[in-house]
């Protein structure tokens, strides 16, 4: 099977999974109220996040389509819905200002004068198109890594906190060791070992990123397992596994949700740093910013490329952080009572 088919299937499964989780959560009044609370507190930020998710999803579904005579053979590759929103021969030859009619250097006429809303980059690609495509990479980094981090952190954190003893010592040693290493160096080393590529970068970020949540979960489990309702459950004859799944995990979920949302924005930024070092993911905003390094020193400087990527990154991070704050306000028992 070809890569783009697999990718489409994965996206489909993900959407189905999210829908299932959302549907399950919706049936519980606690989560339904929490979701409504977030939407009430931060409607604009939530809308921005959903917009980015929408763009990313549109870019995630791709296919080759029926052959057309006017297409060059080199264009016979899968194109996403976002790609299809732009004409096939949309590229120019070099830089052009936003909405310019001529090239930035030399002043040759453009193929599509005044049509490139955010200008074009060094090889004439439309910056708006690139920026939109960057959303998919950003969400991939944030989303996939979060999906790696949460199970890791829960598995190690809950088991260490609940079982205690040697296993706890071991997990804590592991956490401390990972936390003691400079994470950037560790990231670079991991990517050097795993190789470059979107999944590899996410795995590397995941391995370095689960420590904080794991420590949090372990501490909370230590606290919860001594609580009266856990002891009461045990006194009623509830099995250990059932206690874990019915009484411990649900009471950890608010921590997980809060951390996951805040983790997400940190991860997207980490990817930008990696791109800056030249080991990020192709097509990310970080890479666009990285490319803009030289462009800034030109005279006159070329800023639209940098600005588009930075603003998109900024908007996503800001929106996610604000939604994260609202999630914390709603779910954290210490702040849940405050009107937001």
């Amino acid at each position: 099977m070809q890569a783009y088919v697999v990718s489409n299937l994965v996206v489909g499964l993900l959407v189905a999974g999210v829908a299932l989780v959302a549907w399950r959560a919706w049936r519980s009044r606690l989560w339904r109220e929490a979701a409504a609370g977030v939407a009430r507190r931060r409607p604009a930020s939530l809308a921005v996040v959903l917009l980015f998710v929408g763009v990313a999803l549109l870019d995630a579904v791709s296919w080759i389509g029926a052959p057309r005579e006017d297409e060059a053979l080199s264009l016979r590759k899968p194109r996403s819905l976002i790609d299809r929103a732009f004409p096939v021969d949309w590229n120019e030859r070099s830089y052009s200002r936003p909405l310019a009619a001529v090239e930035f250097y030399g002043g040759r006429a453009l193929r599509h004068p005044g049509k490139h809303l955010l200008g074009t980059d060094i090889i004439g690609r439309d910056v708006l198109h690139l920026t939109l495509k960057g959303a998919r990479v950003a969400l991939l980094v944030g989303g996939l890594t979060t999906l790696i981090v949460i199970p890791l952190a829960l598995l190690f954190g809950v088991s260490a906190g609940y079982r205690g003893g040697r296993w706890d010592d071991f997990v804590f040693f592991l956490i401390s060791t990972l936390a003691a290493m400079p994470s950037l160096l560790l990231l670079i080393a991991l990517i050097a070992v795993l190789g470059r590529g979107p999944v590899q970068v996410c795995v590397a970020l995941g391995v370095t990123g689960w420590v904080g949540l794991c420590r949090l979960v372990r501490g909370e489990t230590l606290k919860l397992r001594e609580l009266d309702y856990v002891r009461a459950a045990r006194a009623l004859g509830v099995s250990e596994v059932r206690i874990l799944f019915r009484h411990l995990l649900p009471n950890l979920m608010h921590l997980v949700v809060i951390t996951a949302v805040l983790l997400f924005s940190g991860l997207v930024l980490s990817e930008a740093v990696l791109s800056w070092l030249g080991i990020g993911i192709d097509g990310s905003w970080g890479q666009m910013i990285d490319q803009a390094r030289d462009e800034l020193s030109r005279d006159p400087p070329i800023v639209w490329n940098l600005l588009s990527a930075s603003l998109a990154l900024f908007a996503l991070i800001l929106a996610v952080n604000r939604v994260g704050d609202a999630v914390r306000d709603v779910l954290d028992p210490r702040t849940a009572g405050d009107a937001g």
Binding site: E226, Y229, R231, A232, R234, A235, G237, H247
Partner: protein, 326 residues
């Protein structure tokens, strides 16, 4: 002779300390018959709750229990494999905790938790379990039980939560109810209601109760027999009237004297001098020797034997033993 629900012989629960294991429960024996209420009385930290946890093998790690015999409804608790032990917990003997505020899982509705308790020990579908739960809620005096089924714990008051806990404990018709300080966390009017409820339920269903408390008022309300515990050991046992009216052990007498009462209005309240010493500082003899105003020389060095004063009245005290033999 009536049916025996609980037999405990020579129970000791030890925790590792810096100088070897420390016994927080030491050589404790008692038994409860069907329909009987035994009160285990003592001040905070004397090992009452640990005794209760030991009975269900729920002592937190690294504590260890040892006993000659613990039997709940004829089943040997000490040798039961874990899955069968889980069947004893909840079905034969259920426990009610002292903190209703934290005894319910905050992310599940009250009803769902009782349903879980029912379905642990019985194969019935959720609809039937729900009906049973609503009935139970009604029986423990929860108003509007159908609506309360879907309430989360934070929407219930302390008294309501304790009622839910009682409903949960009763859900599988246990023969023995272990009630650990059932009213300490509640205010006085709710205390009275909960005590009335416990007494009524006990009378209706004939459940035996092991009542753990430091409140002699509650003992007077509910108990048939009383065991007084001091610093890990039982010091005096007897029928309620005997203990409350004719206690012989200096500790029990001190406890009774320190109850505020109308008779001695205006006088300073009697107290037992000193505080309970830490387990490492217990004398090898009688644990109470250091605080006892009638202590003899042998008290601190030799452990007193049990002296049977009447059919059901047993005291462990050198002073009492000497007086009795005279």
């Amino acid at each position: 002779m009536s049916e025996r629900v609980l037999t405990v012989e020579g129970l000791s629960t030890r925790f590792p300390g810096s100088d070897g294991p420390v016994a927080v429960v030491e050589d404790v024996s008692f038994e409860i018959d069907r329909g009987e209420v035994l009160a285990l009385v003592g001040e905070s930290g004397c090992g009452k709750s640990m005794t209760a946890f030991s009975l269900l093998r729920l002592v937190p790690r690294p504590g260890r229990i040892a006993a000659r015999r613990i039997e709940i409804c004829g089943r040997d608790v000490l040798s039961l494999p874990v899955p069968e032990m889980r069947q004893v917990r909840g079905r034969e003997a259920a426990m009610i905790f002292q903190e209703p505020m934290t005894s319910l899982n905050p992310v599940q509705t009250a009803g769902a938790q009782v349903v879980e308790a029912i379905r642990l020990h019985e194969r019935i579908d959720t609809g039937a379990a729900r009906r049973r739960t609503v009935e139970l809620f009604d029986r423990v005096g929860i108003p509007d039980p159908d609506a309360r089924f879907d309430a989360y714990p934070h929407q219930l008051s302390g008294g309501m939560k304790q009622r839910v806990m009682i409903a949960m404990a009763l859900s599988s018709h246990p023969k023995l109810l272990i009630v650990d300080e059932p009213t300490t966390a509640l205010d006085v009017t709710i205390q009275a209601q909960i005590l009335d409820l416990l007494r009524e339920l006990q009378r209706e269903s004939g459940t035996s109760i092991l009542l753990i408390t430091h409140d002699l008022g509650i003992v007077n309300e509910l108990a048939d027999r009383v065991s007084v515990m001091y610093a890990a050991r039982l010091v005096e046992e007897g029928r309620r009237e005997t203990i409350l009216g004719a206690a012989r052990h200096p500790y029990t007498q001190g406890l009774l004297r320190s109850i505020p009462g109308l008779a001695r209005r205006g006088e300073p309240l009697a107290e037992i001098p000193g505080v309970v010493p830490a387990p490492e500082e217990w004398p090898p003899g009688c644990h109470f020797a250091g605080r006892c105003e009638r202590a003899l020389e042998c008290c601190a060095t030799t452990r007193p034997d049990e002296t049977r004063l009447a059919d059901e009245h047993v005291v462990s005290c050198h002073v009492v033993a000497r007086e009795a033999s005279r």
